[in-house]
Assembly symmetry: C2
DNA sequence: CAAAAATTGAGACGGTGTCTCAATTGTGGC
DNA sequence: GCCACAATTGAGACACCGTCTCAATTTTTG
Protein backbone atom coordinates (compact mmCIF):
# COMPACT_ATOMS: atom_id res chain seq x y z
CA UNK A 1 0.00 0.00 0.00
CA UNK A 2 2.08 2.88 -1.26
CA UNK A 3 1.32 6.44 -0.18
CA UNK A 4 -0.29 8.78 -2.67
CA UNK A 5 2.21 11.44 -1.77
CA UNK A 6 5.08 9.04 -2.29
CA UNK A 7 3.97 7.75 -5.67
CA UNK A 8 3.04 11.23 -6.84
CA UNK A 9 6.35 12.63 -5.73
CA UNK A 10 8.39 9.98 -7.48
CA UNK A 11 6.35 10.40 -10.62
CA UNK A 12 7.02 14.11 -10.62
CA UNK A 13 10.66 13.59 -9.84
CA UNK A 14 10.98 11.31 -12.86
CA UNK A 15 9.74 14.10 -15.09
CA UNK A 16 6.09 13.18 -15.44
CA UNK A 17 3.30 15.69 -15.01
CA UNK A 18 0.91 15.33 -12.15
CA UNK A 19 -2.37 15.38 -14.01
CA UNK A 20 -5.78 14.75 -12.46
CA UNK A 21 -6.00 11.49 -14.38
CA UNK A 22 -2.73 10.20 -12.93
CA UNK A 23 -3.59 11.41 -9.47
CA UNK A 24 -6.87 9.54 -9.64
CA UNK A 25 -5.07 6.34 -10.55
CA UNK A 26 -2.57 6.82 -7.76
CA UNK A 27 -5.35 7.58 -5.33
CA UNK A 28 -7.04 4.32 -6.19
CA UNK A 29 -3.82 2.37 -5.76
CA UNK A 30 -3.24 3.86 -2.37
CA UNK A 31 -6.69 3.23 -0.99
CA UNK A 32 -7.91 0.29 -3.01
CA UNK A 33 -6.15 -2.71 -1.55
CA UNK A 34 -3.86 -5.22 -3.17
CA UNK A 35 -4.19 -7.14 -6.42
CA UNK A 36 -6.10 -4.53 -8.39
CA UNK A 37 -6.47 -5.04 -12.11
CA UNK A 38 -6.74 -2.39 -14.81
CA UNK A 39 -10.51 -2.49 -14.89
CA UNK A 40 -10.89 -2.12 -11.17
CA UNK A 41 -8.53 0.81 -11.25
CA UNK A 42 -10.47 2.35 -14.10
CA UNK A 43 -13.84 1.99 -12.43
CA UNK A 44 -12.66 3.27 -9.07
CA UNK A 45 -10.69 6.04 -10.75
CA UNK A 46 -13.71 7.28 -12.65
CA UNK A 47 -15.48 7.90 -9.37
CA UNK A 48 -12.70 10.32 -8.53
CA UNK A 49 -12.16 11.71 -12.03
CA UNK A 50 -15.02 10.73 -14.33
CA UNK A 51 -13.27 11.47 -17.60
CA UNK A 52 -10.55 8.94 -16.85
CA UNK A 53 -10.10 6.63 -19.81
CA UNK A 54 -8.97 3.09 -20.21
CA UNK A 55 -5.95 4.08 -22.26
CA UNK A 56 -4.74 6.40 -19.54
CA UNK A 57 -5.03 3.74 -16.89
CA UNK A 58 -2.90 1.42 -19.00
CA UNK A 59 -0.39 4.16 -19.72
CA UNK A 60 -0.13 5.23 -16.11
CA UNK A 61 0.38 1.70 -14.88
CA UNK A 62 3.06 1.23 -17.52
CA UNK A 63 4.88 4.20 -16.08
CA UNK A 64 4.56 3.03 -12.50
CA UNK A 65 5.91 -0.38 -13.46
CA UNK A 66 8.70 1.19 -15.48
CA UNK A 67 9.68 3.25 -12.43
CA UNK A 68 9.52 0.09 -10.33
CA UNK A 69 6.90 1.58 -8.06
CA UNK A 70 4.36 -1.11 -8.82
CA UNK A 71 4.71 -4.65 -10.03
CA UNK A 72 2.43 -6.75 -12.22
CA UNK A 73 1.50 -10.33 -11.49
CA UNK A 74 -0.99 -12.95 -12.56
CA UNK A 75 -3.02 -14.99 -10.11
CA UNK A 76 -4.39 -17.98 -11.99
CA UNK A 77 -6.25 -15.67 -14.28
CA UNK A 78 -5.59 -14.01 -17.60
CA UNK A 79 -5.86 -10.73 -15.75
CA UNK A 80 -2.85 -8.63 -14.93
CA UNK A 81 -2.95 -7.31 -11.38
CA UNK A 82 -0.71 -4.94 -9.49
CA UNK A 83 1.04 -4.93 -6.16
CA UNK A 84 3.51 -2.50 -4.72
CA UNK A 85 6.93 -3.35 -6.00
CA UNK A 86 8.91 -3.94 -2.84
CA UNK A 87 9.61 -7.36 -1.42
CA UNK A 88 8.16 -10.74 -2.14
CA UNK A 89 4.66 -11.97 -2.47
CA UNK A 90 3.35 -15.17 -0.96
CA UNK A 91 0.07 -16.83 -1.72
CA UNK A 92 -1.75 -19.87 -0.54
CA UNK A 93 -4.54 -20.64 -2.98
CA UNK A 94 -7.40 -23.08 -2.66
CA UNK A 95 -7.96 -24.69 -6.05
CA UNK A 96 -11.53 -25.51 -5.17
CA UNK A 97 -13.06 -22.32 -3.79
CA UNK A 98 -10.43 -19.88 -4.99
CA UNK A 99 -9.73 -18.45 -1.56
CA UNK A 100 -6.34 -16.76 -1.50
CA UNK A 101 -4.44 -16.38 1.75
CA UNK A 102 -1.55 -13.98 1.81
CA UNK A 103 1.22 -14.90 4.19
CA UNK A 104 4.31 -13.01 5.18
CA UNK A 105 6.99 -15.23 6.52
CA UNK A 106 9.38 -16.03 3.84
CA UNK A 107 11.96 -18.75 4.03
CA UNK A 108 13.14 -18.11 0.54
CA UNK A 109 16.12 -15.95 1.37
CA UNK A 110 18.45 -18.87 1.42
CA UNK A 111 17.22 -20.06 -1.93
CA UNK A 112 17.54 -16.54 -3.30
CA UNK A 113 21.20 -16.52 -2.41
CA UNK A 114 21.81 -19.92 -3.95
CA UNK A 115 20.16 -18.93 -7.20
CA UNK A 116 21.95 -15.60 -7.36
CA UNK A 117 25.18 -17.49 -6.97
CA UNK A 118 24.58 -20.23 -9.43
CA UNK A 119 23.00 -18.29 -12.26
CA UNK A 120 24.54 -14.86 -11.73
CA UNK A 121 21.13 -13.29 -11.35
CA UNK A 122 20.42 -10.17 -9.35
CA UNK A 123 17.14 -11.21 -7.79
CA UNK A 124 14.77 -8.38 -6.99
CA UNK A 125 11.60 -10.01 -5.84
CA UNK A 126 9.73 -13.23 -5.89
CA UNK A 127 6.33 -14.81 -5.95
CA UNK A 128 5.69 -17.99 -4.03
CA UNK A 129 2.44 -19.68 -4.80
CA UNK A 130 1.24 -22.77 -3.02
CA UNK A 131 -1.90 -24.45 -4.24
CA UNK A 132 -4.04 -26.98 -2.53
CA UNK A 133 -7.34 -27.46 -0.75
CA UNK A 134 -8.39 -25.32 2.19
CA UNK A 135 -9.93 -26.53 5.44
CA UNK A 136 -13.49 -25.88 4.36
CA UNK A 137 -13.13 -27.61 1.04
CA UNK A 138 -11.55 -30.84 2.25
CA UNK B 1 6.40 -34.32 -20.23
CA UNK B 2 3.61 -36.81 -19.84
CA UNK B 3 3.42 -39.85 -22.09
CA UNK B 4 0.82 -39.94 -24.83
CA UNK B 5 -0.13 -43.40 -23.84
CA UNK B 6 -0.53 -42.37 -20.24
CA UNK B 7 -2.69 -39.33 -20.89
CA UNK B 8 -4.75 -41.20 -23.43
CA UNK B 9 -5.26 -44.12 -21.12
CA UNK B 10 -6.40 -41.98 -18.22
CA UNK B 11 -8.74 -40.07 -20.47
CA UNK B 12 -10.32 -43.26 -21.66
CA UNK B 13 -10.50 -44.61 -18.16
CA UNK B 14 -12.38 -41.51 -17.04
CA UNK B 15 -15.04 -42.20 -19.64
CA UNK B 16 -13.96 -39.90 -22.44
CA UNK B 17 -13.68 -41.02 -26.01
CA UNK B 18 -10.32 -41.12 -27.68
CA UNK B 19 -11.10 -39.08 -30.75
CA UNK B 20 -8.55 -37.98 -33.34
CA UNK B 21 -8.90 -34.39 -32.13
CA UNK B 22 -8.09 -35.30 -28.55
CA UNK B 23 -5.25 -37.56 -29.59
CA UNK B 24 -3.73 -34.72 -31.59
CA UNK B 25 -3.83 -32.45 -28.54
CA UNK B 26 -2.28 -35.12 -26.37
CA UNK B 27 0.37 -35.78 -28.97
CA UNK B 28 1.37 -32.13 -28.95
CA UNK B 29 1.54 -32.04 -25.18
CA UNK B 30 3.79 -35.04 -25.09
CA UNK B 31 6.23 -33.88 -27.71
CA UNK B 32 5.95 -30.11 -27.55
CA UNK B 33 7.87 -29.11 -24.48
CA UNK B 34 6.73 -27.25 -21.40
CA UNK B 35 4.71 -24.06 -21.02
CA UNK B 36 2.54 -24.46 -24.09
CA UNK B 37 -0.43 -22.15 -24.49
CA UNK B 38 -3.74 -22.87 -26.20
CA UNK B 39 -2.67 -21.29 -29.46
CA UNK B 40 0.56 -23.21 -29.65
CA UNK B 41 -1.31 -26.41 -28.99
CA UNK B 42 -3.86 -25.52 -31.66
CA UNK B 43 -1.27 -24.73 -34.32
CA UNK B 44 0.85 -27.77 -33.61
CA UNK B 45 -2.24 -29.92 -33.33
CA UNK B 46 -3.52 -28.86 -36.74
CA UNK B 47 -0.36 -30.22 -38.30
CA UNK B 48 -1.36 -33.60 -36.95
CA UNK B 49 -5.10 -33.27 -37.42
CA UNK B 50 -5.93 -30.30 -39.67
CA UNK B 51 -9.59 -30.01 -38.76
CA UNK B 52 -8.75 -29.43 -35.11
CA UNK B 53 -10.60 -26.37 -33.84
CA UNK B 54 -9.92 -23.82 -31.18
CA UNK B 55 -12.98 -24.81 -29.19
CA UNK B 56 -11.84 -28.41 -29.03
CA UNK B 57 -8.41 -27.45 -27.79
CA UNK B 58 -9.99 -25.44 -25.00
CA UNK B 59 -12.40 -28.24 -24.17
CA UNK B 60 -9.71 -30.90 -24.15
CA UNK B 61 -7.44 -28.86 -21.93
CA UNK B 62 -10.35 -28.27 -19.57
CA UNK B 63 -10.76 -32.01 -19.27
CA UNK B 64 -7.06 -32.63 -18.70
CA UNK B 65 -7.00 -30.01 -15.97
CA UNK B 66 -10.17 -31.37 -14.44
CA UNK B 67 -8.57 -34.82 -14.31
CA UNK B 68 -5.47 -33.24 -12.76
CA UNK B 69 -3.28 -34.48 -15.58
CA UNK B 70 -2.19 -31.02 -16.60
CA UNK B 71 -1.99 -27.78 -14.70
CA UNK B 72 -2.45 -24.19 -15.88
CA UNK B 73 -0.18 -21.35 -14.92
CA UNK B 74 0.60 -17.80 -15.93
CA UNK B 75 4.12 -16.54 -16.54
CA UNK B 76 4.05 -12.77 -16.52
CA UNK B 77 1.67 -12.78 -19.41
CA UNK B 78 -2.08 -12.81 -19.85
CA UNK B 79 -1.64 -16.18 -21.53
CA UNK B 80 -2.58 -19.38 -19.83
CA UNK B 81 0.05 -22.06 -20.26
CA UNK B 82 0.15 -25.70 -19.27
CA UNK B 83 2.57 -27.96 -17.49
CA UNK B 84 2.20 -31.51 -16.37
CA UNK B 85 0.42 -31.57 -13.06
CA UNK B 86 2.84 -33.35 -10.78
CA UNK B 87 5.23 -31.62 -8.43
CA UNK B 88 6.35 -28.04 -8.14
CA UNK B 89 7.50 -25.55 -10.67
CA UNK B 90 10.43 -23.20 -10.23
CA UNK B 91 11.28 -20.25 -12.41
CA UNK B 92 13.98 -17.65 -12.53
CA UNK B 93 12.89 -14.84 -14.80
CA UNK B 94 14.88 -11.93 -16.17
CA UNK B 95 12.66 -8.88 -16.15
CA UNK B 96 14.71 -7.24 -18.85
CA UNK B 97 15.13 -9.82 -21.60
CA UNK B 98 12.45 -12.24 -20.50
CA UNK B 99 14.75 -15.24 -20.31
CA UNK B 100 13.23 -17.93 -18.10
CA UNK B 101 15.39 -20.48 -16.37
CA UNK B 102 13.75 -23.51 -14.94
CA UNK B 103 15.43 -25.00 -11.91
CA UNK B 104 14.74 -28.15 -10.02
CA UNK B 105 16.04 -28.08 -6.51
CA UNK B 106 13.33 -27.10 -4.20
CA UNK B 107 13.85 -26.01 -0.64
CA UNK B 108 10.20 -25.30 -0.11
CA UNK B 109 9.28 -28.54 1.59
CA UNK B 110 9.78 -27.11 5.01
CA UNK B 111 7.61 -24.13 4.21
CA UNK B 112 4.98 -26.42 2.76
CA UNK B 113 4.75 -28.27 6.05
CA UNK B 114 4.53 -25.06 8.06
CA UNK B 115 1.74 -23.71 5.90
CA UNK B 116 -0.17 -26.95 5.92
CA UNK B 117 0.01 -26.88 9.68
CA UNK B 118 -0.94 -23.31 10.26
CA UNK B 119 -3.75 -22.94 7.75
CA UNK B 120 -5.01 -26.50 7.56
CA UNK B 121 -4.34 -26.64 3.83
CA UNK B 122 -3.59 -29.78 1.91
CA UNK B 123 -0.92 -28.44 -0.39
CA UNK B 124 -0.66 -30.18 -3.73
CA UNK B 125 1.87 -28.22 -5.69
CA UNK B 126 3.59 -24.89 -5.88
CA UNK B 127 5.08 -22.31 -8.15
CA UNK B 128 8.16 -20.41 -7.09
CA UNK B 129 9.00 -17.46 -9.22
CA UNK B 130 12.08 -15.35 -8.73
CA UNK B 131 12.51 -12.23 -10.79
CA UNK B 132 15.58 -10.17 -11.39
CA UNK B 133 18.23 -9.36 -13.93
CA UNK B 134 20.31 -12.02 -15.63
CA UNK B 135 24.04 -11.95 -16.20
CA UNK B 136 23.83 -10.58 -19.72
CA UNK B 137 21.46 -7.81 -18.84
CA UNK B 138 23.29 -6.41 -15.83
C1' DC C 1 -29.43 -50.98 -39.08
C1' DA C 2 -31.67 -47.35 -36.22
C1' DA C 3 -31.73 -44.32 -32.33
C1' DA C 4 -29.41 -41.97 -28.82
C1' DA C 5 -25.45 -39.84 -26.93
C1' DA C 6 -21.10 -37.66 -27.25
C1' DT C 7 -18.15 -34.82 -29.71
C1' DT C 8 -17.04 -31.75 -33.15
C1' DG C 9 -16.01 -27.29 -36.13
C1' DA C 10 -17.67 -23.02 -37.51
C1' DG C 11 -18.96 -18.83 -36.41
C1' DA C 12 -20.97 -15.21 -33.41
C1' DC C 13 -20.15 -12.63 -29.37
C1' DG C 14 -18.33 -9.68 -25.57
C1' DG C 15 -14.27 -8.29 -23.26
C1' DT C 16 -9.38 -6.72 -23.23
C1' DG C 17 -5.10 -4.70 -24.53
C1' DT C 18 -2.99 -1.75 -28.23
C1' DC C 19 -2.77 2.00 -31.19
C1' DT C 20 -3.76 6.38 -33.57
C1' DC C 21 -5.10 11.01 -33.70
C1' DA C 22 -7.09 15.29 -32.86
C1' DA C 23 -8.19 17.99 -28.83
C1' DT C 24 -6.92 19.39 -24.33
C1' DT C 25 -4.02 20.44 -20.50
C1' DG C 26 0.05 21.40 -17.50
C1' DT C 27 4.34 23.85 -17.14
C1' DG C 28 8.34 26.85 -17.36
C1' DG C 29 9.71 31.30 -19.04
C1' DC C 30 8.26 35.68 -19.44
C1' DG D 1 -0.95 36.07 -14.85
C1' DC D 2 -0.13 34.84 -19.63
C1' DC D 3 1.83 32.37 -23.61
C1' DA D 4 3.75 28.88 -26.36
C1' DC D 5 5.05 24.41 -26.54
C1' DA D 6 5.35 19.82 -25.38
C1' DA D 7 3.12 16.37 -22.82
C1' DT D 8 -0.98 14.18 -22.00
C1' DT D 9 -5.52 12.96 -22.82
C1' DG D 10 -10.10 10.51 -24.32
C1' DA D 11 -12.46 8.50 -27.93
C1' DG D 12 -12.74 5.22 -31.00
C1' DA D 13 -10.88 1.65 -34.24
C1' DC D 14 -8.72 -2.63 -34.25
C1' DA D 15 -7.07 -7.40 -33.60
C1' DC D 16 -7.05 -11.07 -30.54
C1' DC D 17 -8.68 -14.20 -27.08
C1' DG D 18 -11.79 -17.02 -24.45
C1' DT D 19 -16.71 -18.39 -24.33
C1' DC D 20 -20.82 -20.00 -26.13
C1' DT D 21 -24.33 -21.87 -29.30
C1' DC D 22 -25.79 -24.86 -32.70
C1' DA D 23 -26.17 -27.86 -36.42
C1' DA D 24 -23.50 -31.59 -38.36
C1' DT D 25 -20.73 -35.55 -37.59
C1' DT D 26 -19.11 -39.48 -35.23
C1' DT D 27 -19.42 -43.09 -31.94
C1' DT D 28 -21.88 -46.18 -29.10
C1' DT D 29 -25.81 -48.85 -27.97
C1' DG D 30 -29.82 -51.72 -28.68
ZN1 LIG E 1 -0.67 -10.86 -2.91
ZN1 LIG F 1 -11.33 -23.78 -0.45
ZN1 LIG G 1 8.12 -24.08 -15.93
ZN1 LIG H 1 18.29 -10.82 -19.08
Amino acid sequence: MPHVAELAHKLKKAGYKLTPARLAVIDVLESGGEHLCHNQILEAGQKIYPKLSRATVYRTMDILVELKLMRPLYLNEPTQRFVSAAGGHHHLVCTRCGQTIEFDDCTANELVDQLADRYGFQIHHHLLEFRGVCVNCQ
